[in-house]
């Protein structure tokens, strides 16, 4: 056995294909199937309860217009949570990105430079989060509670607490590029969300970066024994979240051509809920982009649906809570059963 193992036999390499086997398929994709099941169940329930709303295309265009703002951030954050880390500062990074955009535009009157500056700010804050977590060994949950306050404070100081208009972006190509409508109906932010989701999926499943994120989340000790630079990889994960948060901040601001210093605050729990609803484990090592994507649309749809069904809007949060808790229980159960 020893002498043969390194000869790569071409025949065997080409011969193997994942043959389809129902049991193995369910075992491998149980958590995705579970969340899709809940998603379709909920959808059918909405259609039955409010057919006028949920059988017309308007509601879906509306979802595609508003859900991407937080769904975008759920994508890289899923990757980070899979590595066993957490970032609670992304709502503040959103606002910091937009403030940077405004301040840069005031100086140079160029939206592209302002846009680039916002993204660089996002990367920088993400890098700083990573440094605090990795180099000082602070748990990321704690570290990013701190940076979340710090950068929100920075936003208030830099904007002097004032909101600001972004109407001037209407004359540039940046706005239609980020939040325009294809054929007058399909929102560009939905396209960006899809691109970010695909990009995150590829990074997570088809790139060394994602392989190492999974490994760190599963067994960080083993990752180090196997020569993975766990610090660098985690810092990259934080930078990715920072970058996309700044991007999402610009997209959300351009959509309404306005900036509030409190931007992003409402997105914290929605984004996290999407991720956990989608089956990503807070303990790391487990999670999928598809799950978070579907989770975001469930979270986004519940509010509209309660109103459309004619229930009181007060029920929204109650239903959020119910769906999240039940889904997380389902994921835990499936995880144990399927292994």
């Amino acid at each position: 056995m020893t002498s043969k193992t390194n000869e790569i036999s071409v025949d065997a390499t080409q011969a193997y294909k994942d043959s389809f086997n129902f049991v193995n398929f369910v075992r491998s994709y149980g958590t995705q199937l579970g969340i899709l099941g809940v998603f379709f169940g909920m959808w059918i329930f909405f259609i039955i309860m409010a057919p006028n709303t949920f059988l017309s295309s308007n509601i879906y265009y509306s979802f595609m217009s508003t859900i991407p703002f937080f769904a975008m951030m759920a994508m890289p954050l899923t990757v980070l949570v899979i590595a066993g880390e957490m970032d609670l500062s992304f709502p503040s990074i959103m606002a910091m990105g937009t403030v940077t955009f405004l301040l840069t535009y005031n100086e140079v009157s160029n939206v592209w430079l302002a846009f680039a500056a916002a993204l660089v700010t996002g990367l920088f804050i993400g890098w700083l989060n990573g440094i605090i977590v990795v180099k000082f060994g602070i748990p990321s949950l704690v570290a990013t509670i701190g940076t979340q306050f710090f950068w929100r404070g920075a936003v208030l100081v830099l904007s002097e607490g004032h909101s600001g208009t972004l109407v001037y972006t209407k004359e540039t190509f940046l706005r239609p590029l980020l939040v325009g409508k294809i054929g007058d109906v399909f929102p560009m932010q939905m396209l960006w969300l899809i691109l970010i989701a695909i990009g995150s999926w590829v990074l997570l499943n088809r790139h060394r970066f994602g392989a190492h994120m999974y490994l760190i989340g599963d067994n960080a000790n083993s990752a180090e024994l196997m020569g993975v630079n766990t610090g660098r990889v985690r810092i990259q994960g934080f930078m990715l979240v920072g970058l996309i948060a700044a991007f999402a901040g610009i997209v959300a601001s351009l959509h309404v051509t306005f900036f509030w210093p409190s931007q992003g605050e409402g997105y914290l729990l929605k984004t996290l809920a999407s991720i956990f609803l989608g089956g990503t484990s807070v303990f790391g090592g487990v999670g999928t982009i598809l799950g978070s994507f579907v989770g975001a649309f469930m979270i986004g749809a519940i509010e509209a649906a309660t109103v459309a069904i004619g229930w009181t809007g007060f029920l929204t949060q109650l239903i959020y809570g119910l769906i999240i808790v039940l889904s997380v229980i389902m994921h835990t159960y499936l995880g144990k059963r399927l292994g």
Partner: protein
């Protein structure tokens, strides 16, 4: 060519704790060396220096007579070192193919993975080397469901796949059944037959004695002594090990 691997005057401290002091160690061509010593004697620290996981506080590591500075795990791998850790070094939630290629995935220059090839290679290794025959086990199976012996098989195949010259085994029999242990010991003998070298650590003196050419005794961070296995009986070795644990010296007063 000289020794495959040499440690010269290696010391390693963790804060004020001196884990290793002035260690000199050689691993020859086609030689299996067993490391024996009590818990905390420094065996694991020694091999973690050989594999690039720890950087020594002082001293040099040589491969084939060449000094390698700032040894890291990837550098040690390039020098042909592979390590079989205790079963805990596998990632339980990840699939078999991901575990085989942990930390050195097959990838292109941009870092994108060749998933197809990794799965195919895993499948080939499974059937040819690991002896998995059950339909239920595929490259996509999660390692968490495997038995101790199966996991050790994964760790070994992983070490061999990359054609290492020096195989380091860190307490590989921990948690294995008798049958599985015997397989593992045979595997160490095969390393020797294939012309490679190995460093073998185990608590069980009998295991170490039965596969090693030479036995190095480590005690309290120092090398207490060494024997060629052919020069010493298992009984004498056991006596000496008990003696060293009590006194820190190998010299038996009456013998």
């Amino acid at each position: 060519m000289g020794d495959r691997l040499e440690l010269i005057n290696i010391s390693k401290s963790f804060g004020k704790v001196k884990a290793l002091q002035d260690i000199n160690f050689q691993l020859g061509q086609n030689e299996v060396v067993g490391l024996l010593g009590d818990n905390g004697a420094g065996k694991s620290t020694m091999i973690k220096i050989m594999t690039g996981y720890y950087r020594p506080t002082a001293g040099q590591v040589l491969f084939g007579g060449k000094q390698i500075d700032n040894l890291t795990v990837p550098k040690a791998r390039l020098m042909g070192v592979e390590t079989v850790y205790q079963e805990r070094a596998l990632a339980e939630l990840l699939t078999l193919w991901r575990n085989i290629f942990l930390g050195r995935e097959l990838k292109n220059r941009w870092g994108f993975l060749d998933v197809k090839k990794m799965k195919a290679e895993t499948h080939r290794l499974m059937t040819q080397s690991m002896g998995f025959t059950s339909e239920a086990v595929t490259p996509n199976s999660k390692v968490g469901k495997f038995s101790g012996g199966e996991r050790q098989g994964v760790a070994i195949v992983r070490a061999l796949y990359f054609d290492a010259d020096i195989i380091v085994l860190d307490e590989p029999t921990m948690g294995l059944s008798l049958n599985e242990t015997e397989k593992l010991l045979n595997f160490v003998r095969e390393i020797k037959l294939a012309g490679k070298s190995a460093v073998f650590i185990d608590h069980n003196i009998y295991h170490v004695y039965s596969v090693s050419d030479r036995i190095v005794v480590v005690d309290r961070g120092k090398i207490a002594g060494e024997f060629l296995t052919k020069d010493i009986s298992l009984e004498t070795l056991m006596e000496k090990m008990i003696h060293v644990a009590e006194t820190g010296t190998l010299d038996l007063p009456l013998s």
